[in-house]
Amino acid sequence: MRMRLALPNTRQTVFIGWIALLSLLALLGVGTAIWVFKEGLVVTNLSNQVPWGLWITVDLSSIALSGGAFFLSALVYIAGIERFKPAARLAVFAGMLGYGAALCTLLIDIGRPDRFYHPLVFWNVHSMLWEVSMCIVLYFSVLTLEVFPLVTTHPFFDRLPRVRALAERIHKAAPVLAFLGLGFSMLHQSSLGATYGVVIARPIWFRPTMPLLFIVSAIAAGPALTITLALIVGWLRGRAIVPRDVLFDIARIAGLVLLVYLYMRFWDAMAGNYGYVPLRSEATAVLTKGSMALSFWSWEIVLGTVIPAVLLLWAAFTKREAELFIGSSMAVIGLIANRWHTTIVGLTTPLTTNPALTYPLIPSYTPAWTEWAVAIGIIGGVLLVFTLGVRYLPAFNPQSDSH
């Protein structure tokens, strides 16, 4: 089972160029991260008024977009839809990298990275963030166990039969891991929303719908990312990595969930803003007709939710990959836009209606270059490992090579 090294020349050049680009981005991220560790968070544009920003958006987005892993695994191993296995495999691999990205971003975002383990040792069980931290660590472990048997399919492990035997034993526990993954994800995907939802000081966040909206949007956009990745890899390779009919079935599910999300979002907005609610109405106005309105209506609502919902369902009927790709990738962008808008609008709204009791101006926030560099570096690093994994792991290069 030798790996093909003889790519056509131009494709090989493009591949090497792509790897080089991602490596450069990852290096840029690592270099900037070291600079931030050395200088402190003063080199960011975060402030006492806006203590969370771009990096939290990266955390929230990468965790939500990794939601394909738990959802598709649950469909395969709990609902018993075996056909979805290639999609679940891809989602689990991407999911592990997504959680890895979130952990890296959290590490740089906290003021004392040397105390990263404190949530595991010093528990405040009342804290949403404690629960999220525990779940992320535990679920990352589950994903690593799920990915381990995929990695040991590589010929390198021909020399290590004991490692491969261990991997096979772990693989037999796949249903158990899927069940654990479902449990941890149900907990933290929603409590990430509750992290905002319990903050009584910020009425735009303080709603019981926050955890529900977070998990439902993750169940829609997570599988959408899996579709996007499967399509891109399939096109580049000239051979589907996930069977087409599976992708269209997942598109139908993701489209329906996106419609459910839109429906929940609509009634949440209607019921939550009926009449004047102090500070919530002001924050809502910033989104719907204020400084963030253009970005909110275009990227989050129309391009990011309505159109993808329609396109995903449309693609499921027409079986056309163009609609499928545009729909799934727009759903991913819509989710990122939602996490960004949610974070920033909550933080840039004053804490009380009395101008004397809070900061005199609505603070603004634009990420500093350091924040962009670290964020882009982490995304580049994740894409690098993803590209190499999908390219070289036999688990993602089935049949036609060996047969």
Partner: protein, 269 residues
């Protein structure tokens, strides 16, 4: 088949028992070490002792906005240049005349910061005051986001500069906080604790009273024990109308504000 009639052989039983014992010992040691490292002995739900009920009373009618309280606080608590545990705001809208509103930490009974801290680095002391354990804080800043009063500050950078407020406004009395942790007003607990040990009365004896209260040239700030009916704070609160900030949130702050004299078109903060 017949050889193995019991559920476990002796060897298996010994092995299992050892495993359970070792696991229990590891968990026990973990809990012990954690307990030794954690200052938050009290739960996160308000005071466990009702020996004292410390409150601060600020008279909005008296305050002239001189900012001495801020200066004394910055000197005594050795805060970094960008950090102001006790901020003073101008309020031109709430009352007929302009008032100055000093905002220390409210030391809420239902403190959002205590609830949200993932590691329990901010906690209720036995007397109910909200304190920080700088050795636990990971600097996630969730408490800043959750505090309805904007009373929390993060150490964005190292503070190696001399304190511009010292010694003119007071001598630094507590250790500087390291970069990367959140801090806030303590009600000068170091003075309260040391004072009580030496038989002093916080709110009466200056050495046991918060720096901002001592420095105030117009006696707009008072500190004391609400459990003591003869304390100044008890008498003031019994005699005059007062408010707390954002009472609607149910945080039950320990800072009370005396309203200025009634004027026209007065509205409540």
């Amino acid at each position: 088949m017949t050889a193995k009639t019991t559920l476990l052989s002796r060897r298996e039983f010994v092995k299992l028992a050892t495993q359970v014992g070792v696991s229990a010992a590891v968990v026990g040691a973990f809990m012990q070490i954690r307990g030794a490292l954690t200052k938050a002995k009290a739960g996160s739900h308000g005071p466990v002792s009702d020996a004292y009920h410390w409150v601060m009373v600020i008279d909005l009618g008296r305050c002239t906005g001189c900012n001495y309280c801020t200066y004394a606080c910055k000197a005594t608590n050795d805060t970094a240049p960008g950090i102001t545990w006790n901020a003073v705001f101008n309020d031109r809208q709430s009352f007929a005349k302009e008032v100055y509103l000093a905002r220390p930490c409210m030391h809420c009974e239902h403190a959002p910061c205590v609830e949200v801290c993932p590691v329990g680095a901010t906690y209720h002391r036995a007397d109910g005051l909200v304190a920080m354990d700088y050795d636990l804080c990971i600097g996630c800043r969730y408490c800043q986001i959750a505090c309805p009063y904007g009373a929390r500050y993060f150490n964005w950078e190292d503070n190696n500069q001399p304190n511009p407020m010292a010694p003119e406004w007071g001598k630094p009395e507590i250790e500087r906080r390291p970069r990367g942790v959140v801090e806030k007003c303590t009600f000068c607990t170091h003075r309260i604790d040391a004072g009580l040990e030496n038989g002093l009365r916080p709110g009466i004896d200056e050495d046991a009273t918060p720096a901002c209260v001592n420095i105030c040239p117009v006696k707009a700030r008072q500190f004391g024990d609400l459990n003591d009916p003869d304390s100044k704070v008890s008498k003031l609160l019994a005699e005059r109308e007062s408010i707390q900030l954002r009472e609607d949130l149910g945080t039950h702050p320990r800072v009370y504000y005396m309203l200025p004299e009634r004027g026209e078109d007065q509205t409540c903060a």
